[in-house]
Each structure stands twice: as C-alpha cells, then as structure tokens.
C-alpha cells in the first residue's frame, strides 16, 4: 500500500468515524434518550386525577354514586326536618 493509499484509507476511516459520531449526536438519538427520560419522569408522576377518579370508559360511575348520595341524604333530610318541626 502506497503512502497516498494509506492517507486515503485513513481519511475514509476518519470520515466514517465522523459520520458515526454525528449519527450518535444526531437528533433522532437524542430524541430517543429524551423520550426515555420523559417516559420515566411521566411514570413517576401521579396520574391525572380526572382520568383516575372519573374514568372515561365509565362516565356513569360518579353519576350513579352522586344519585345514591343525593337520594339517601335527601330522604334522611326530609325525615329529619319532619321530626324537628
């Protein structure tokens, strides 16, 4: 291998290395790293209370509970008012 060929080979190797480094520093990689961190921090945060306590798939849960609550205490209050009056 001549000196010129060796230089060319070294230049190519440097270019390849530079490409690898640039790929490593490229935005897609950082997006991946960022998304892992984001996912981690999101998983450690408490869930949104609205989704947690009032599930979208079952909107009738809080409504049915409210109906039971109102009916129960409504009856109780009426009877109570009758008694004290």
């Amino acid at each position: 291998m001549t000196e010129e060929e060796i230089e060319e080979t070294e230049e190519k190797a440097e270019e390849t290395e530079t490409e690898d480094i640039s790929e490593k520093d490229d935005s897609p990689s950082s997006v991946v790293v960022g998304s892992i961190e984001d996912t981690k921090s999101t998983e450690l945060d408490p869930l949104d209370l609205k989704d947690y306590l009032f599930p979208k798939e079952r909107p009738w849960v809080w409504k049915s509970f409210a109906v039971m609550f109102v009916l129960f205490f409504g009856y109780y209050f009426i009877k109570y008012k009758e008694t004290i009056s």
Binding site: L44, Y52, R58, V61, M68, F72, F73, Y76, I84
Partner: protein
C-alpha cells in the same frame, strides 16, 4: 360462666403494632407511600389499643375521678383524631397520591390537626361553662364522614369496574378500591350490624338540640346526622357494588363477605333488637347462655375488637407497607397467633348459638398447623409480583421527608393536647 373479648383485642393490637414496627425498620425497596401507610397504620393501632385499655378492659382502674381523667379523655380523643387523619392521609396516598404538591398536603394536615386541637379546647375547656355551649364534635364527626365519602367512591369505582386491571389506570383503581373496601369495613363495619334498621328506627331522626334555641344546635345536629348517614350509606353502596362485582368478576370472597354483613345485619335488626356492644361492653361480662347477647357480641363486638387489628395486618402485608420476607418465621407465628386468637373468641361466642364447645377451637388450631393454612393465608395476602409499585414524584418536596414530617406533626399534636389537657385540668386556663 362469663367472658369478655377485649383482652384478645389488646393482645392483637400489641402484636400487630410490634410486627409493623419491627419490619418497618428493615431496609428494603418500599416506596414512600408504603412507608407512610405503615406508620399511619401504627397510629391507628396505638389508638385502638389505648381505647381498648382505657374504655374497655381497665376503665375502673384508670378513671378514678382525679384531675388527670380529663387529660386521659382528651388524649384518647386525640388519638382517635390522629387515627382518622392517618387514614385520610393513607387513602390520599395508596396506591397513588391524590395530591402532587407537598405544600398543599402540609397545609391540609396542619389545618386538620389545628382544628382538632381547637375542638379539644372547645369540648373540654372554658367554653363548656358558657350558656351558648353545645356539646358536639365538629372535627371528630365531619372528618370520618368525609373519609367515608372518599372511601365509598373509591370502592364503588372498583366494584363496578367490569374488566379489572385492563390498563395502568384500572390496575391502580383496583388497588385503591381494595384498600377502600377494607378501610370501610374497618371503620363502619361494626355499625352496619346495628343500623340496618336505618329507615325504621326513630333514633336516626331524633334532634339532639332544641330547635330554634340556637343555630349551633342545628349545626351540631346536621354534622352528627351527616356522620350517622355516612356510616350507613357505605353499607348500601358496598352491597349494590358487591352484587355488580359478583356479576362482573364472579369473585365470591369479596362480594360474599360484603353481602354477609348485610344479611347478618338484617338478622341482628329483625331478631335481636339491633343493640350494639362497644369497647366498654366487650370488656364487660356478658351472659353467654343468651343467644341474643352472643349474636350481638359476634357481630358488633368482634368487628370492633378482633377484626380491626386483623384488617390492619391484611392492609400492611397486601399493600407492601411491610415485607414479610425479612422475618418469615415471625410472620408465620404472627398469622398462627392471629388465627388462633380469632378462632378461640368466635367459637366461644358461637357456643350458645350452635351448641358447640369452645374447646373445639383447639381442633381448629390443630388444623391450621397440620395443613399449614397460615402459610396459604400469608401467601394470598402478599402483593402480586407484577403489580406496579411506583415511587411517585412530588412537587416542592420528596416522599420520605413527607413521612417524617407527618409523624412529627402527629407527635407534636398529641404533645400539645397533653399540655392543653393539663392546663385545663389544673384550671390554669379558666
């Protein structure tokens, strides 16, 4: 022959308390919500133990009519309030904190404990001598009622969930719901046997005050009735929910247990007058030849005395508040003693009803040991391996610090009450 059961409850309270304290000291991967839950359960057990000793087993030996009686009564009430706040805190943080900002949490706890201290001043201090004074507990009645609303909703959300742990949210909902169901049984269970006659008994509609005399009477009555209602409402919510749960998931254990409360409550109300046996009564001698008295003790009495420490034991193991692998032999012994103690009391109470001797409890204990039932029970209580256990992140603070802060706040609150009690009892504050 006469019996009392509060001594078994005292022993169970002490055993479970020491069990949690011992395992709680071990270094492991428990999250801050689990550590917070463990310490809050200790506060409850301390309160339950004190109530059993003071108002139950040793009432005559403790309350001698001296000045310190006032301090003791105040401290016992204070422990109840700490237990209530402790359960509110645990409900707000198990398995996921319903708050994100530590600052808001601290403001809430400080407000609650300060209001509770002010209530002690009102109930025992100089206001009692005023003409306008009305004897009632605004905090002690409101706080458990609010707790029961929260627990009832979490339990309803869980019991009516059709698919179970389908996704992350549903899995957390299920865990919160299971905690809520057990907490509801712990707090309200004993009264469900007595108050099935809610819609029949006139006492629920009786006014404690004189209408029109003062607005404070009306406020006191409304708060008292709200508390009464919130002990009865969860029974109906859980009963309806358990039917849906049985239909959706076919799990007989939980649904059957809840419906069992309702059925026993109806029997209690219709056939056995619906009377209750509380701390003082479970420590008092009773006529074990009487089926009615035995039934009352079997329902309200056992729920108040035996079931509470056992439910706490279930909660701390099931929700990973302590890890039993640190001391497998101790954990096994804990289970055997709990089962044997409960079995002995229940067979004793069943004696006049079924005509069986209490001696049969020895055979049950033999069966527990022979078939290693305690190992199966302990294994069933463990949290599932694939269950999510997140160390949740908070704003303006971190979890472990919050655990220490909460316990310090409880300690300071009790210390402040003791000082206040001494000042009131010694008539320094007039």
């Amino acid at each position: 022959m006469v019996e009392n059961i509060s001594i078994v409850s005292i022993i169970l309270d002490i055993m479970v308390l020491l069990f949690i304290l011992y395992l709680g000291q071990k270094k492991d991967d428990r999250t801050w919500t689990q550590k917070l839950g463990a310490t809050m359960m200790c506060w409850f057990l301390l309160c339950h133990l004190a109530m059993n000793i003071a108002y139950g087993q040793f009432y005559a030996q403790i309350f001698l009519g001296e000045w310190y009686d006032t301090v003791l009564h105040m401290v016992l009430e204070t422990l109840w309030k700490a237990a209530i706040v402790g359960f509110i805190v645990t409900t707000l943080s198990t398995p996921m904190p319903l708050f994100k900002n530590v600052k808001n949490y601290k403001i809430g706890v400080i407000f609650g404990l300060s209001f509770a201290l002010l209530e002690s001043y009102y109930t025992w201090g100089p206001p009692t001598g005023e003409d306008w004074f009305v004897y009632f507990w605004p905090f002690w009645s409101l706080a458990p009622a609010v707790l029961m609303v929260m627990l009832s909703y979490l339990a309803w959300n869980y019991l009516t969930s059709p698919e179970g742990a389908g996704d992350r949210t549903e899995a957390l909902t299920d865990r919160a719901g299971l905690f809520a169901v057990m907490a509801l049984i712990l707090w309200g269970g004993k009264n469900w046997f007595d108050w099935v006659g809610f819609f029949k008994s006139s006492e629920f509609f009786y006014s404690n005050g004189t209408p029109g005399t003062s607005t404070l009477y009306l406020v006191a009555d409304l708060i008292g009735k709200f508390e009464t209602g919130m002990i009865v409402l969860p029974m109906f919510v859980l009963s309806v929910g358990s039917v849906i749960y049985l239909r959706n998931r076919g799990s007989v254990l939980l649904g059957g247990t809840i419906l069992g409360f309702l059925i026993l409550g109806f029997i209690h109300f219709w056939f056995f007058s619906g009377e209750s046996q509380d701390y003082n009564s479970t420590a008092r001698f009773f006529n074990e030849e009487d089926i009615r008295e035995s039934f009352i003790l079997l329902t309200h009495g056992t729920m108040q005395s035996l079931a509470r420490p056992l439910i706490i034991l279930f909660l701390v193991v099931r929700f990973g508040m302590v890890q039993t692998e640190h001391a497998p032999d101790l954990s096994r012994a804990m289970m055997i003693m709990s089962l044997a103690g409960a079995m002995s009391v229940i067979t004793e109470i069943l004696q006049p009803m079924l005509g069986i001797s209490q001696l049969i409890s020895g055979f049950f204990l033999g069966a527990i040991l022979a078939f290693e039932i305690e190992r199966k029970v302990m294994k069933a209580m463990q949290p599932p391996d694939d269950e999510e256990n997140t160390d949740w992140v908070l704003i303006n603070g971190e979890g472990i610090g919050l655990v220490k802060w909460t316990n310090t706040a409880f300690g300071m609150y009790i210390f402040a009450t003791i000082i206040l009690g001494i000042l009131i009892a010694k008539e320094v504050i007039v």
